[in-house]
Amino acid sequence: MNGRRSQATERGAGGAPLGTVAQSGRKAPALRHRSVARRKAVDLIVKVLAWIGAWFGIAVMAFVVWEVVVRGISAISWSFFTQSTPQDVTSTSGGLANAIVGTLVITLVAAAIGIPTGFFGGIYLAEFGRNGRVATAVRMIANVVMGVPSIIVGVFAFAIMVKPVSHYSGFAGSIALAFIMLPVMARTTEDILNLVPNELRESGLAMGAPRWKVTLGVVCKAARGGLITGATLAIVRVAGETAPLLFTALSSPYWMSGLFGSGGFFGGPVANLTKTIYDLAGTPYPAWQSLAWGGALVIIVAVLGMNLLVRLLFQRGKEW
């Protein structure tokens, strides 16, 4: 130890006294000490590098958000939310209203398909298939499917929805998004339901209620917060996807016109926010690029906002 040490003590390399013959009954052989100063220096260097590196990484992430806000804010206006995509290069007006509506429609249809299916799938995993081999396999497959690149899902949806009928459709896009939502919702539901203590199930059943009433009425009610969080986050996640829509819903500069026919939901391409941003960003016209940034801003606000909202509202539901 450094500090007020008597000068008579011998010092070895590194400034520590050689040997410690302090105890009675034990002979301490002379030990060469490693330098404490050097070890502390290494520790300090690592800490400094860690601070720099970590804050650099965090700063870059913040920078991404910042850039979108700065570049996108100028595009936001009333017309942004009311007019459809400009087609004329010279026009300075135009908005992404049709794209926003299109995304909402496509996403909600996808949710109508994917959320209930995923929800019941999660119930299967949590309530019926705790230990069975089938359920374990399903669980692992769900985890794997969650990792499928979203463009492959787009190709798949193209093959089954677009190719046979030779036209794009918004519905095909919804199918692709539902495919992505399915395992996410199932696993999230399973995780949430697993957190509900067994006593709740037992007391429900002990009252004589049938299994389905206990599960849906009691257990799911208890897990309501987490389930809503999970569903919301799943929806928000697919709403921001682009790749699955590239070959299914494609995009369109027009408003969706009904259900069938070339401009309809089932009949032809439907405008959506992400693909439209992709298209506009790729053009060389600054006004259109600016619209694309506005769209990006809308997406970031929606995604981050919903994330924050559900976490704050339903803190108990999901782990941070």
Partner: protein, 337 residues
């Protein structure tokens, strides 16, 4: 069947749930069987989706598989207009950009996780941790746009010229090749943007895994007179290493299949192998994304779907490895990885 008698059986969580299930089986109600069927059907739907996907991909790429045979995997150039369907350039680009992304993201993720777990006040750590998880939710098109409008010019005007002039500029692999176009749209840029896309995922998992190191073990390390760094690399990282490897595999899987962040910025050169990281190139995902909608020839479409199948198989391999690895971690530590 009474659930009251077998109290030991009830004691374990599995036991009580099975007992509850057993109790409900004795009833003759219609609601329960329907419920069970619906739930099972939905559960199996997930598995069916997977098999369906695989089957559809194979079926639709069959004309290409049968017609082109091994050309896709052995030829470099992808040029449908001249009848060439080689994916090696795309495969090389996928591999290179992923490697660049991992090399940048993994150390950064570990260091951020270390910061969150050890070096900052716990409440700050929680806030930043939450921010990291929310950043993982940012859609890839956002990264694509920031990449295209901010990173690419920055690389083109500042970083790459400096790099080329510096001694690093003559290192093979960095030295610009014949297709060099200034370095803005390049594999390197794509790798950088990819890195920050996968960074939040890896950080979140690494942080969770580091948090699982028992406090007693760390205290024992400090009690032996170790510094923070020594406890971290001799004890914590060793304890957590399976989990971290699993995290890396997850990040890898995502980076391989990433489309929108990369399609804008990788350079879209489908015909040559990149000679350096600064050359433009392509990845399988961006090749598909950029050419699919213009493809009219049936063989071209089938070949693109075959590319999709290849990408699917590659990313599945990594996913499965990650799953198996993470299950090992769960068994070892008894917690969620």
């Amino acid at each position: 069947m009474s659930t009251v008698q077998n109290t030991e059986y009830l004691a374990s969580p599995r036991g009580s749930r099975d007992a509850a299930e057993a109790a409900s089986r004795g009833r003759l109600r219609l609601g329960d069987p329907i419920f069970r069927v619906v739930a099972t059907a939905c559960g199996l739907a997930v598995a069916a989706a997977m098999f369906g996907l695989t089957a559809v991909l194979i079926y639709n790429s069959w004309p290409a598989i049968a017609g082109l045979k091994t050309e896709v995997l052995t030829t470099v150039a992808w040029s449908p207009s001249s009848g060439q369907y080689g994916a090696l350039a795309a495969l090389a680009g996928t591999a290179l950009s992923t490697v660049v992304a991992m090399v940048i993201a993994v150390p950064l993720a570990l260091v951020i996780a270390l910061l969150l777990v050890e070096l900052v006040h716990p409440s700050i750590g929680r806030i930043i941790g939450m921010a990291v998880e929310m950043l993982a939710a940012i859609p890839s098109i956002i990264f694509g746009m920031v990449g295209l409008f901010v990173v690419v010019p920055f690389m083109q005007e500042t970083i790459v010229p400096w790099l080329v002039e510096s001694p690093l500029g003559s290192v093979p692999g960095i030295k610009p090749g014949p297709t060099f176009q200034g370095g803005g749209l390049s594999i390197f840029t794509a790798g950088i943007v990819l890195a920050f896309m996968v960074l939040p995922y890896i950080t979140a998992v690494a942080r969770d895994v580091l948090r699982m190191v028992p406090q007693v073990t760390k205290e024992a390390g400090y009690g032996m007179g170790s510094t923070t760094w020594e406890v971290l690399h001799k004890i914590s990282l060793r304890y957590a290493n399976s989990g971290i490897v699993g995290a890396v595999f997850i990040g890898l899987g995502r980076a391989l299949g990433e489309t929108m962040a990369v399609a804008f910025i990788v350079g879209s050169v489908y015909t040559d192998l990149p000679r350096s990281l600064l050359d433009p190139g392509t990845t399988i995902a961006s090749l598909i994304a950029n050419t699919f909608n213009e493809a009219t020839d049936q063989i071209q479409i089938a070949a693109l779907i075959e590319l999709g199948l290849i990408l699917f198989l590659i990313s599945m391999v990594f996913q499965v490895i990650a799953q198996l690895w993470l299950r090992r971690v769960q068994r070892k530590t008894g917690g969620r990885a």
